[in-house]
Symmetry: C2
Subunit: 360 residues, 2 copies
């Protein structure tokens, strides 16, 4: 089976889509795409390290509420003092020609505001997942980027991870036969005090944070959109961590072809992050599959046992992701994971919560 036109659009990592796109809004391809990093938290360090391994991207500005931290990072990445912004003077990035794009790595609920402000400043936006904390915000983000004629990509790093791409292609090629069921899980035992436990900042519990990996995976593995969703959620530990968001969420998806997916996520247990795809002729798993490295393919495919570790080390996924977005910016291409991809997950997250709130 060949990749369908939809696959082609979504997994254009294959690189062909580029050839036919008009060359509007493209950056001068002879220089690197300069990024302003918004929110210097844990994931931003991975992203900046990833950028250093690209040939087409560089860190050219920082946006932070902590000037000390920003100065330290600026020294490491050669960012001039004049390119360090606070949240107050953020909009001045509009006047900085070394900033082509922003990377939004703030708490979830702040994605919308800074994406839209960046768009108004004429900058392309690479925004972390979840795209935002509501469907409305997500739609506004897409509209703002369209209006400003800037690109919006959601940082679904697994779409730029070679083993995930191989898994998709193997499934499309029928290597496990007809897919019947998918099982996926991603959870960890969260420490008290994390912003992720603040509903206003996070939007909700582990589904927004790590569960979205499983949700997104069931969509890229099947190439389908859910026809039916069911869910349950719970909080078990009354130790102060879960006063605002739930601890566990499990959901089941029926896809139009009949493929069923069982997924769960937790802030109360280190489940690892994996998916397993069961087909009529074999199975395929990435376990672990959602970590920054150590992605391990297991399976029984085409009558053969597969057991293969991707030896690439962190930040290789961030490198591939930045490389892709910069390539899109430089060549006026639509990213493989545009805002619309993020919006689909946001709509499904809303559906999962709706289902979880339904009675027994």
């Amino acid at each position: 089976m060949q990749l369908t036109r939809r696959d082609f659009a979504r997994f254009g990592a294959l690189g062909l889509a580029a050839r036919f796109a008009p060359a509007l809004n493209a950056q001068n391809p002879t220089r690197k795409t300069g990024y302003a990093i918004i929110g210097i938290g844990r994931i931003a360090y991975h992203f900046m390290a990833g950028i250093q391994n690209t040939t087409n991207s560089s860190v050219t500005a920082l946006v932070s509420g902590h000037r000390d931290k920003a100065d330290k990072v600026a020294a490491q990445y050669g960012v001039p003092a004049g390119s360090i912004y606070s949240y107050e003077n953020f909009d001045e990035i509009a006047h900085n020609p070394n900033i082509d794009a922003v990377y939004v790595a703030l708490p979830n609920s702040m994605h919308a505001e800074y994406t839209m402000r960046a768009a108004r400043a004429g900058k392309h936006v690479l925004c972390e997942k979840p795209m935002s904390t509501s469907v409305t915000d997500s739609e506004a983000m897409i509209a703002a980027c369209k209006a400003a004629k800037v690109k919006l990509m959601i940082a679904y790093r697994c779409h730029y991870e070679p083993f995930h791409m191989r898994a998709i292609q193997m499934i499309r090629d029928g290597k496990v036969g007809q897919v019947q069921e998918i099982s996926s899980c991603f959870g960890f035992n969260i420490a008290p005090g994390e912003w992720r436990l603040n509903k206003m900042l996070a939007g909700g519990g582990p589904l927004y944070d790590v569960g979205i990996y499983s949700l997104n995976a069931t969509r890229y593995l099947t190439g389908e959109e859910p026809a039916k969703l069911t869910a349950v959620m719970s909080t078990i530990d009354h130790d102060g961590r879960f006063n605002e968001v739930e601890e566990n969420m499990a959901w089941t998806t029926l896809f139009p072809s009949g493929i069923v997916a069982s997924c769960s996520t937790s802030y109360g247990a280190n489940t690892g992050g994996y998916f397993k795809v069961y087909g009529s002729k074999g199975w395929l798993a990435l376990d672990p599959g959602f970590n920054y490295d150590g992605v391990h393919m297991h399976g029984f495919v085409d009558g053969q046992v597969i057991d293969e570790l991707n030896p690439s080390r962190d930040p290789y996924q961030f490198t591939a992701q930045a490389d892709h977005f910069s390539h899109c910016v430089q060549n006026n291409l639509e990213p493989n994971t545009p805002g619309e991809e993020g919006l689909k997950d946001m709509r499904l997250i809303a559906e999962i919560y709706r289902a979880a709130r339904m009675g027994a």
Copy 2:
């Protein structure tokens, strides 16, 4: 954490319950419990082989529609010709003093009739799972056995498998911390022509057949009964196998404590049969867990990696199961998996189908 009183009743494999039970209805303990095997299919061969390894049980009669097959088995197990019955003269087992109990290994929908006829003949009943194909039939089976003052046990062999019992005890002892989530799956790619594909005989699809292992496991692992169930089902392959029963079923369970379980079963993919329990301090899996042998414990428990294979070979589970039921018969004890345990699963199966039929 200690086993609760309920655990104690259910997992009396610990052997203590016996001491306090009245000695009514007990067989003379000096001789083996004699079994009539009803339905000489695949699983009956395992059961008979299992009996041979017990010290308290023996095959003393056969019930079959195929006299040739019965004669062959009779020769192997030393069953006299006079103790071979057909389905027509089955009720004559009442007059055979060498038959203490029957083992019902017929297609699911026939369990009820032969359990009740055996009870009326004054014989104890060990019935394969699923107990029957309806809640009504299951209730009638329990009532018939109570009225006849015979014991009824459902053949949930995992309750007599040491690694399953160890897993339960480890979980009760808090070795993985507070359990948050359970994932379990059991499915296989079914061959055309099996009676399991006939709805009248089977009752339904893979949930009745192998999915019941996951369903039952989530109950014995948690020691709780579901508070909420959601489900989806599907048939993907239109190749003649699934004209009567569905191919796939996935369901999610919320338990009163907040533990969530994600389970699925399939007749379209060899998923293996396993469970994984994720807790706040570790995890524990039997993978594979539901096969006749090769039960493999994996986990991270008490800060230690566990990776241990149960070296016991088939038919050890059938031996343990027959040994337990014969012990109950001889000492007038309630089996660990009585009819009521089977009925609970039957009610849940009905609930899962109801949930699966609900719209998107």
